[in-house]
Amino acid sequence: MFEQLLFQGLVGLSLAMYLWLVSAGLTLIFGVLGVLNFAHGSLYMLGAYFGYSAVRVLGVSFWVGLAVAPLLVALVGGFIERFFIRRVYHIDVAYQLLLTFAFILIFADLVKWYWGPIYQSAPVPAGLSGALPILGRPFPVYNLFVMALGPLAALGLWLLLEKTWWGRTVRAAAGDREMAGAIGVNVPQLFTGVFMFGSWLGAVGGALGIPIRTVSPGMAEDYIIQAFAVAVIGGLGNLKGAFIGSVLIGLVNAYGHLYAPVFELAFMYILMAAILILRPQGIFGTSQ
């Protein structure tokens, strides 16, 4: 009984790390640009499809795909920010949501057209295949790898934002974009950079998922909502919160699956709604 509890926690944590990688980009973009980006789900999906094509069509190794696919997606993200999202910073939030929603529709069909409507997957890279016995049950080695990568990504992100000059300008622009502009930060260029970086992060999550999770044209719709839930629970724009939010959602999904299958899917949204009602600034947010 206790072992099952622990094991399921491990399953939850591995789910959480995928969620973290998707929601980190979303949260960063919201925190700096103030745009809640529906298209982030599509960028995550593109990361997965590019990675899939690299492995299955070009025949390169999984690692080359993981390195290249997110860079391509970052270019797509840069294009979207530069030519579309930049035009709506000044108008109502509702229209920003709708603009980014348009990209969900566009990319879902583009992907269906190019890769087909069926589910795809890629083999687990050599050296990370198989399962290790943990608590008497087999646990995929690949998930252990992703669980190690998640906190590393968090550390890297923290170092980037807190310890580098670029991170400092990003934080300045997030705090007050006009003042940042006045003291010489090229804010539009910075925004494009942040958007590309956020897209890159999401795509890394997507490309990492292909050996374990299925790749399909509908994945953008599913993951963006989970990423929204994570971002809301941690507090919109709060990266530390997004990390904790991912862990919470991962655990809730894993335990819900085991102990309350009727409410499995609903738990995540109940948590999301509860946070929005009781503490809209999120678990770690300071004020609205």
Binding site: Y95, L97, D109, V232, V262, F263, E264, A273
Partner: protein, 320 residues
């Protein structure tokens, strides 16, 4: 101008009443879908265009109307009208509970909260197999006869008969929203949309007004969903999915959010565009996305807004 309005209205009435006379099942079916979406979008826009709250979870109320109607028809064996009205009332009751929480937030937090509640309903419809039938949904919902006092039981098995039922219910629903919008209550809602603080300084209980708008909007959306259950003879959880919530948003934006006719025209355009694009390619969402981009970037008033601000003034100038 007044004469023009009458002519347009009369023409519309003739077209709407004449659809089943074409004898084409496909046209009748398409017309029913357009009517349902126009009602759904009109209900949605009471909240978005008139109260200033963008809901991303309205499919929950649409679906709960459909599910409740389906269950009433299947298990309570009620006739058509009480089942459909029961479905709409159930959606409104759900709207009262959900709205109680949602109106405490505005802007993006409101959108996220409605999204969360909407997906909660989707998740329950999906997982609560014993009541909702799980991912298969409710199957075998009968299109029961419409029982009217004095007329007896009118059979609804023919699609054209059911079309007239949907037409009347849609007209009633749209009329109700129109009454609400042009009532003092509707003006207060628009005042709240324009400036929440001023409205509350004027002594208006903003939250209570928002809640009333929310519940009315859910009632109308539920009515739209309720009419789909007997049409399709089935309801599946996808009716509550957030991508379904996007449909009234798209229709409303297409038609124009700040005019009453916007969602109605938008629903028509939504299906016309879909049919047109599907003649050429199966990837109609792609082109719909492109249209949406153009609307957000260039035509935020929608088609009706464009007509009112550009076409109509030009016409007036030419006539005078």
């Amino acid at each position: 101008m007044r004469a023009l309005q009458w002519i347009l209205g009369l023409g519309l009435a003739i077209v709407l009443l004449g659809v089943p006379l074409t004898g084409e099942r496909f046209y009748v079916y398409l017309a029913i879908q357009i009517l349902v979406l126009s009602l759904f979008a009109t209900g949605f826009n009471l909240l978005f265009g008139y109260t200033g709250l963008l809901s991303f979870g309205h499919a929950a109320f649409y679906a709960s109307g459909a599910y409740a109607t389906g269950l009433l028809l299947m298990h309570a064996r009620l006739s058509l009208l009480p089942s459909v009205l029961g479905g709409a009332l159930f959606a409104a009751a759900l709207g009262l509970v959900v709205g109680f929480f949602c109106v405490r937030r505005t802007r993006i937090y409101f959108s996220m909260l409605t999204l969360a509640f909407g997906m909660m309903v989707y998740a329950l419809a999906f997982d609560w197999r014993s009541v909702t039938g799980g991912d298969d949904g409710l199957i075998g919902i009968p299109r029961s006869p419409l029982w009217l006092p004095g007329l007896g039981a009118l059979q609804m098995t023919a699609l054209s008969a059911y079309y007239y039922f949907v037409l009347v219910m849609t007209a009633a629903g749209v009329w109700l929203v129109r009454r609400v919008v042009y009532s003092p209550f509707g003006l207060v809602l628009q005042g709240i949309r324009e400036n929440e603080n001023r409205a509350s300084f004027a002594g208006i209980p903003v939250r209570r007004y928002r809640l009333a708008a929310f519940v009315t909007s859910c009632l109308i959306s539920g009515l739209a969903g309720a009419m789909v259950a007997p049409l399709e003879n089935t309801v599946a959880p996808t009716a509550a999915h957030w991508t379904k919530s996007a449909e009234p948003v798209l229709a409303t934006l297409l038609g124009g959010i700040h005019s009453f006719a916007g969602p109605l025209v938008g629903a028509l355009l939504f299906y016309l565009l879909q049919e047109l694009i599907e003649q050429v390619t199966e990837y109609w969402l792609l082109w719909f996305g492109v249209v949406l981009l153009a609307l957000v970037l260039g035509f935020r008033g929608g088609v009706v807004g464009y007509f009112q601000h550009h076409v109509l003034p030009a016409l007036r100038r030419r006539l005078s």
